[in-house]
Symmetry: C2
Subunit: 369 residues, 2 copies
């Protein structure tokens, strides 16, 4: 107890002291106020002891050294939760199920994607979704509208897909151009084709006991699926979800609660997020802040699901950046019992769950079991 | 520290060792498994030290005596949160607002209640709602259908009220007869007249950041309103909601989170509910279990909102029972900084919030501000 962890443990995370976002990454996570981010950064992976600790870091030094030395005592690293391998297995299961449905009733699931504008990252996401559809035998349809399209043109595209029986899922790639009302457009997707699961009616059903959502949002569904496939018990466990976004944190908390975990959501206004997180048996982090969750935040033996995909500067790489999670991976590996890597953790699961939701939708539309 | 609290402190709660439900009270709270209830009862308000402590009560003795002696050291009792007085004030505000609307545009809000069958408690609730409407100038409409009515007859009544512009709120008194599909009937209430706020679309909007529900469910809204009216800060505070029912616990947690509390829901599958609850600055309990929350569950200075209204045997009273909350009131008064009594706490607020939602609905329907 109290023995300092060697500096090298923090080597990889230490680059996060200069981390900042280079790319606007897809659907936005919760915005944490910049002063809070600054506080986290000031304690982010720098060598101990910390210079000028902020109020938020008061409990950091003692607890960090305690936890790190505890982890060192066991001399074992956490299990890596291989999202890439699990997603591959799920895609194989989906492909087999699609073949079975095609053979039985001649129906092939279809997914439509609407892309507006010329954002490179959005185009990449859409291309990856198409590729994933191809890999399992889902028909994909794409409408690409110019940046200067009217809201009505987008609504018309959605309306056509709503009415098209060969389309079982509709995705509107976000963000939309600023002149469009995102809520209005998303609400126009027929709820039985809302494979993203973001419709408030779906979220309401997810929150309510005794109700069932038509679709569970893909990323949180992927998180829970990883826990299931690795045999990690949820019932009765303490879970902390870091971040309360509509698309990850909030639905992840609702899902954990449906599985009888005792759930706390930690967010940008939470006092002592480190202390609260350290009580968790299961941590799901979705803040979009590189390396925010340090080893000292994690209880010995906890399971860590890291949803963050954050680009940080890395001059050594030709592209000039690399991707890291919300969690300081090397530190987590010393303390936790299981950790998802970034990349290769939750990321591949999100798209697998999108395929799964599309299959579910097609089965439901045709009463196929 | 460690000094035993005198037994007399527990005098009122001690009768709960023989407590059980005498009346089926209105809309059901979450069902806690009977073995867990038994464990709680075994430690429920009996003199210390406890005989045969159950696993759940392991931490009870030390923490209870610690907390109780801490409370005694301050020699001050908690503030009583007077829901009856606040509700009266709110009704006066509503009455004034209704007069203002009537004078300005000639519209009077209307609330319709549908009662099916002959349950005495349901009839009492409906009568009380009518009385409350009268007191503020809301027109009330009632349909009373016999127990053996068909589902379609209930749906027809709802449909008529949905179409009636003089009706701004529709309530279906629960429970419905067993041969009716409750979800189907509740879903048939037009969402813009769902003053109960139980529609999944409302709950979804409540859960989502950046979305606004049309109505907030009355009981949790009443809890938050009490906190507001007593100037109790919510932002940044740790809140624990005990119970995860669709009508109280879950929406209460969503409301607290909207106000930037860090929220944990404690439920029947939670391990060590006492330890978790003791971390809270704000406790909202809605379990329907008499005196389940002991003084030892409460942090010194916490605020306690007790939603439970539980009948317990009391041979000394002519009616043979009295009403108590989920929280052992006398113990809470020694530890907390503010406590809602039962009756006279949350109860009167629920009906005040129903009137408030009906007024909101009428204003919205007529674009009146």
């Amino acid at each position: 107890m109290g023995k300092m962890a060697p500096m090298m443990i923090f080597a990889d995370c230490s680059s996060s002291t200069t981390a900042h976002h280079l790319l606007p990454f897809g659907r936005s996570c919760e915005l944490w106020p910049s002063n809070l981010i600054h506080s986290y950064r000031s304690l982010s992976c720098s060598p101990l002891p910390l210079p000028n600790p902020s109020p938020l870091s008061l409990s950091y030094r003692s607890s960090s050294s305690t936890l790190c030395s505890a982890a060192m005592a066991t001399e074992s690293l956490a299990k890596v939760i291989d999202g890439k391998a699990v997603a591959k297995q799920i895609r194989e299961e989906i492909a087999a199920e699609i073949l079975r449905m095609k053979d039985a009733i001649g129906v092939v699931p279809g997914l439509a994607v609407i892309l507006v504008g010329d954002r490179k990252d959005s185009a990449t996401y859409v291309r990856n979704k198409k590729k994933a559809c191809d890999s399992v035998g889902i028909n994909s349809y794409e409408v690409h509208l110019p940046e200067e399209s009217t809201e009505q043109e987008v609504l018309d595209s959605i309306s056509r897909f709503n009415d098209d029986p060969s389309v079982h899922g509709i995705l509107v790639q976000l963000p939309l151009p600023l002149h469009m009302n995102e809520v209005k457009i998303l609400n126009s997707v027929a709820i039985e084709k809302d494979v993203d699961g973001f419709h408030p009616l779906n979220i309401g059903r997810l929150a309510m006991r005794g109700r069932e959502p038509l679709f569970v949002p893909c990323t949180p569904k992927g998180c829970i699926e990883l826990l299931h496939r690795y045999g990690i018990e949820i019932r009765g466990k303490k879970a902390v979800v870091i971040g309360r976004s509509n698309i990850v944190g909030m639905p992840a908390a609702l899902l954990l609660q449906r599985e009888d975990a005792t759930v706390t959501i930690v967010h940008s206004r939470t006092m002592n997020p480190e202390d609260i997180t350290r009580q968790a048996d299961i941590i799901i982090s979705a803040t979009g802040k590189a390396n925010m969750v340090r080893g000292s935040w994690i209880k010995h033996g906890a399971v860590v699901i890291d949803v963050g995909i954050n680009p940080v500067e890395d001059a050594k790489l030709p592209r000039g950046y690399r991707l890291v999670g919300d969690v300081c991976y090397e530190e987590a590996m010393e303390v936790a019992s299981a950790v998802t890597p970034v990349p290769g953790g939750v990321g591949p699961m999100t798209i697998a769950m999108l395929l799964s939701n599309t299959l579910t939708s097609a089965k439901r539309a045709h009463g196929f079991r």
